[in-house]
């Protein structure tokens, strides 16, 4: 098996990273880091196993580490519970909160699960393997992601309605 087959996954990795980070430059940096890691660790990939999943799990680890570095703390709790600092949902008041903005308002760990399951169409078990957590954790993150997304978008709708009433 040759390392060149990674090339075929680059478009999908970029797309996924773009939705995960919400930023084109950060997304390509993340893909670049992922490819470098994949090249270094290429001998560890088991031929016959899903290459895309392996690449996504490398990307997941890098993304977690990056967030940990940025926040100067030990990461996991923050990754789990707080929204991306640059994307405070409240800052969007008065604008239309579209799906991508609502997605960015989710804590990254929830966003990640939601993307793996809905966009990448992984089974819950596969998603659990990629991010290295139990399936139960995938399910609870997925549930919270969907419910938060629902609230974010409903809130916004209500706020718009309220604004229109004031006018």
């Amino acid at each position: 098996m040759s390392v060149e087959q990674i090339l075929g996954h680059i478009p999908a990795l970029r797309r996924y990273a773009r939705l995960l980070t919400g930023d084109a430059t950060r997304a390509d940096d993340l893909v670049q880091d992922t490819l470098e890691r994949a090249c270094v660790k290429w001998s560890l990939w088991k031929p016959g196993s899903a290459l895309r999943s392996w690449l996504l799990s490398l990307m997941h680890n890098l993304h977690v580490n990056q967030r940990r570095d940025w926040r100067h703390d030990d990461g996991h709790a923050a990754l789990e519970d707080s929204p991306e600092p640059a994307h405070e949902p409240l800052a969007l008041a008065g604008e239309r909160l579209d799906l991508q903005q609502a997605l960015m308002a989710l804590p990254p760990a929830m966003r990640e699960v939601l993307l793996l399951v809905t966009v990448e169409e992984y089974t819950y078990a596969e998603a659990a393997q990629i991010i290295d957590v139990p399936v139960g954790t995938v399910m609870s993150r997925l549930h919270r992601a969907r419910e938060q997304l629902r609230e974010l978008m409903t809130d916004q709708t209500q706020r718009l309605v309220a604004l229109q009433r004031v006018k």
């Binding site: 098996m1 040759s2 390392v3 060149e4 087959q5 990674i6 090339l7 075929g8 996954h9 680059i10 478009p11 999908a12 970029r14 797309r15 773009r18 939705l19 084109a24 390509d28 893909v31 670049q32 490819l35 470098e36 994949a38 090249c39 290429w42 799906l99 991508q100 997605l103 939601l114 993307l115 399951v117 809905t118 966009v119 089974t123 819950y124 399910m139 997925l142 549930h143 969907r146 997304l149 629902r150």
Partner: protein, 262 residues
Amino acid sequence: MNESPAAVSADELHAYVDGQLAPERAAAVLAWLQAHADDAQRVALWQAQRLQLRRAARTLELDDAPAALADTVLRTARRTHRVAAWQQAVAAVLLLAAGVAGGRWWAQQGAAPLLAGSPAFVHEAVLAHAVFVPEKRHPVEVAASEEAHLVQWLSRRLGAPLKAPSLAARGFRLLGGRLLPGEGTPRAQFMYENEQGARVTLFVAVFAPGKAPAETSFRSVRDAAGESFYWVEDRFGYALSADLAVPEMQALAREAYTQLAR
């Protein structure tokens, strides 16, 4: 038969939305949703989210991939190069090219590359063609404005005097060229473009004495990205690749062949 439907968990509602529900639970979940309007509404919203997300992912506009991304992989590939892997490599790069070109080639990705019997340098040529032809900003390393320098540089690196044939008579002007890794020795790629933006590459291999493939005839191979005509003469192997109509390809190949044979 059990008339009262067993309780349905939130996990099962998600599985229903994601198409991951065990078939034997489908009836129970549907019955549950009919009996529980709040859950039915919640599930409908989740389904809408799912569709919206998938649509957002599909319609996401990405810039051209930075060349550094593919370069990272190709650098490693050079180090771990193994000839037997070319087949997958070509397929992978065609998929990459398909992504870059906006899906034009997706429809053809299932077509089996008919490269199996051709010499290794032809595989290299097809791969290099697929990688660099979609490049908008860096299709070549050295531009045709420095043609003398380009030819001299590539000749020196390949260890034999090269020529960049003129395909102007067929409407293709030289864009430039680049140096590429090959099996054991470097390779050269010249790229040409016509007024419509169609691109042709000429891939050149110079073999060490006694290492040239035996085959010397004028042959063609077809793959998902187009057609490659190749021939081997003395120590030189040439492959001309493009996605053009066959008569046009043949005319170009004859033109290149005639000039290079001189």
